[in-house]
């Protein structure tokens, strides 16, 4: 196996053994363009030689920014072929974050998708001391950009072909020098506090994790995967680059972020990975279409949906399904489930994963009941994206699955989940101290998540360990646990719960503009903006009812007593959330101190001055008076 110790060596193998089998596709001009493993290899080789001609050396860092495009993936592999490191970044990051990451990682080459991304780089050019070349994929609008450090992808490849003529065997020799312990990626985690940290992932980390994934789940060489999640996220690096190279399956790049749903349907991928939000959006789309259907269709849909969900509940409880129900399901497959799966592009999916945040039990059950093998996965950047996964027969909405073979998991004091495996990253780039904080001398990685192992052996995650606190009376309080329950309501997009060292639990709620807006329209309730909609008394009543429903599932001490509707959604641009949409709790608590004061000071109104940061860094302030509501007292009144 030593021969296949790095990603570039796998590329050579694939080009040799899989040859004309599709490796990656992109939808361009409305048509899926396919590249075989031989093409993949040739593209990577030419680009790598071009980089070499530009002086890219072992250990140098190359960053990519843009949507998922084959060339941006090839650029990453090309850098790795030369012993370099790939540093993918989030394209929607604000300028300050980008500058920090590029400087911190000593990035010398940036490959950007198009003019929009190039403009961002140009704006920061002065601040980037280690940057030497900027390369673009799409030449549109680039005619008047003339700098000798700015080149097109095709130019670099042409340069590479010239270089290859005079340097025979350079490419293969460079790959030959690569070792398993070389860095492959530096993935920046959008830490909930302070600057992002760069997780160093080696080829060995990636390939060992791939082995674990393959022993826990079935991958096939003829699988199709849709690469549409941000390239900077470790999951995309792992599935689109690592797993595709290891297994040889094809990755498919959608035409644009707006066409993902349509492309999904056209392609019908066999493997799907999606965060909860995508599943929720799909379910909403199905429900909206269902509600618009003619009465007969709607009746058929509702009947079969009910039957499927009853069967799914029986199945998950391990009870036998009565014959009648089984017959109904067989019919439903023909009339409802199959066609719905087909509409959603899930017809060919052998398995589908959701992770990153909990998915509502209703949503989870819906997809499983219509025959989508939806399962939860748990992982983090520091574990190369994989810790545990639900086996197909044990899928359920509450656990994070069984730790994959080869991964040790144990629960430390205070309930923190610790992980040890060959997939655990090497450390944070240029941050020994932070590394020591999370990897102990015995090699255990401290995930920072609080959880427990259930009797079946599944890992269950409750919250971030440091966020688990206690109410004033000592009852343990896990804010995220409450927030997730709240967020299962289709009307609530974000929630922030307070309660640590406080007498009771309170929550700030950001409504979901599309569902609440739709709800308001159906009631002929006129509104102009998010702010206006969120402060309607009717909307407050609606959310109060949702909270009351949620409270029924919470223990008495943990029930939400007071709440407030925010006048704007929580945004990563305002530093209230991370790019992966996790609440930056400390920052939010500080920013919204007046709100907590009002919650616990018994006041009914609070003055909110909200500072909004636009993508280009400009700021604006919104002033508003917002009502604080009691959940139960009002119930008595109304």
């Amino acid at each position: 196996m030593a021969e296949l110790a790095t990603l570039p060596r796998l590329l050579l193998r694939n080009a040799r053994e899989l040859r004309t089998r599709a490796a990656i596709r992109e939808k361009d001009r409305g048509i899926w363009q396919s590249y075989s493993w031989e093409d993949y290899h040739a593209q990577v080789r030419d680009f790598a030689l071009g980089l070499a001609a530009l002086g890219f050396k072992r250990g140098d860092r190359l960053s990519v920014i843009g949507d998922n495009r084959p060339r941006l993936y090839w650029a990453q592999v090309a850098a790795q072929c030369l012993g370099g490191v790939s540093v993918p970044v989030y394209q929607d990051s604000i300028a300050k974050e980008l500058a920090f990451v590029w400087n911190h990682a000593d990035v010398s080459v940036i490959v950007a998708e198009d003019q929009e991304q190039i403009d961002k780089v140009l704006g920061l050019r002065e601040q980037l001391s280690t940057l030497r070349y900027v390369i673009y994929d799409d030449p549109r609008g680039m005619l008047h950009y003339k700098h000798d450090w700015l080149k097109s992808f095709a130019d670099v490849q042409a340069l590479g072909r010239e270089f290859g003529k005079t340097h025979g065997g350079y490419f293969d020799a460079a790959i030959e020098q690569g070792k398993a312990d070389d860095l492959a990626f530096v993935c920046y985690t959008s830490g909930t506090t302070g600057n992002p940290k760069g997780a160093m992932i080696t080829h060995a980390n990636a390939l060992e994790t791939a082995k674990m994934a393959m022993s826990a789940e079935e991958f096939r060489v003829d699988d199709d995967y849709l690469a549409y999640l941000p390239m900077a996220w470790v999951g995309d690096a792992f599935y689109t680059l690592v797993m595709s190279l290891v297994v040889g399956f094809a990755c498919n790049c959608p035409e644009s972020p707006e066409t993902v749903q349509r492309d999904l349907r056209e392609l019908g991928p066999t493997l799907i990975l999606a965060p909860p939000r995508i599943w929720e959006n799909m379910l909403t789309a199905v429900q909206v279409k269902g509600a618009d259907a003619p009465p007969l269709k709607r009746w058929v849909f509702d009947r079969f949906r009910g039957a499927a969900e009853r069967a799914e509940i029986l199945r998950s409880e391990g009870k036998p399904i009565p014959l009648g129900l089984r017959l109904a399901i067989a019919l439903g497959e023909f009339f409802v489930y199959g066609p719905v799966r087909d509409q959603l592009g899930l017809r060919r999916a052998r398995w589908a994963l959701t992770g990153g945040a909990p998915l509502g039990p209703d949503t989870f059950r819906f997809f499983r009941s219509i025959g989508v093998n939806l399962k939860q996965v748990y992982g983090s950047t520091e574990t190369t994206g994989l810790v545990s996964l639900q086996p197909s027969r044990e899928a359920n909405p509450t656990t994070a699955g069984r730790p994959c073979p080869g991964i040790e998991v144990k629960i430390a004091d205070r309930g923190e989940v610790l992980v040890r495996s060959a997939g655990v990253f090497r450390g944070y780039l240029k941050n020994e101290e932070a590394t020591r904080e999370v990897i102990d001398p015995q090699g255990w990685f401290h995930t920072g998540d609080a959880g427990f192992i259930d009797p079946r052996g599944h890992l269950v995650i409750i919250d971030r360990a440091k966020d688990v606190g206690a109410l004033a009376d000592g009852t343990p309080f896990a804010p995220q646990f409450v927030e997730n329950k709240l967020k299962f309501s289709p009307f609530i997009r974000e929630a922030v719960a307070f309660g640590d060292q406080k007498p009771f639990v309170t929550a700030m709620i950001a409504i979901d503009m599309s569902t609440v807006g739709n709800w308001a329209e159906r009631r002929s309730l006129a509104y102009t903006s998010y702010m206006d909609l969120s402060q309607k008394p009717e909307v407050r009543a609606l959310i109060r009812e949702e909270i009351r429903k949620c409270n029924e599932t919470l223990p008495e001490a943990g029930k939400v007593r007071r709440f407030l509707l925010l006048t704007k959604d929580l945004e990563a641009d305002d530093a209230e959330m991370t790019r992966t949409r996790k609440v930056r709790r400390r920052y939010v608590a500080e920013k919204y101190t007046p709100v907590t004061d009002a919650f616990y000071g018994g006041r009914d109104e609070v003055e909110l001055a909200t500072t909004i940061t636009y993508e280009d860094g400009r700021q604006a302030t919104l002033q508003s008076r917002v009502r604080v509501e009691d959940v139960e007292e009002a119930a008595v009144r109304g």
Binding site: D28, R140, G141, L143, E258
Partner: protein, 264 residues
Amino acid sequence: MSALVEIREVSKAFGGVQAVTRVSLDVTKGEIVSVIGPNGAGKTTVLNMVSGFYHPDTGRIALESRDVTDLAPSRIAELGVARTFQNIALFRGMTVLDNLMLGRHVHMKSGVLSSFLYWGLAQKEEVRHRRRVEDIIDFLKIQDLRTRPTGSLAYGLQKRVELGRALALDPKVLLLDEPMGGMNQEEKEDMARFILDVNEEWGTTIILIEHDMGVVMDISDRVAVLDMGQKIAEGTPDEVRANPAVIKAYLGEPKASAKEARRG
């Protein structure tokens, strides 16, 4: 080098209203020229005469040194002049793709029968045109809208589709009548970038009417100013901005004389 579009002393009256009086304008290949002026200054009338919708009462219009003054709009379109309208004029019930394919109409050679059979040359032709339309869809970043009926699109997107349809003609000259009218700032910035990219990438000559001075001054090579049907100024954006006649036409006379004007 002679101008691509020559407008020579054109006048047009509608009944008793003299809409345009002896306006001349030369537009060189590859230029972006803006026509500005207060409401009713005759801007759209000039554009309509170039595209053949109206024929001038006096004066001549030439395209590539060829007199096109009295040609029908369809002939002028065939010669490479495309336009968009102040009030969007798309086929609302048709998809974006079909609207753009329709823009290729002047280039389509297949007859009714061969198109109906969709075989041989007709098929090849369709594929060729579709490829060009896909280039435009990619260019305007409307991949997600291909199959949407244009009537269901937001206003700013309809404007973009209309630009796409004009581009589908592969025009030498593109006439844009208030391409940013009714748009918000972000849509305006997008549209301005598309206009510059069209000009840069395909070398298309552009004549546009626009009210947003910021945009006009940013993207135009030259600006012509009309007032009461007459051209009162022409030059680079900076020259026009500093021209006293323009300031007068836009801001009016000093207060005292404005009162006088009302009395008179």
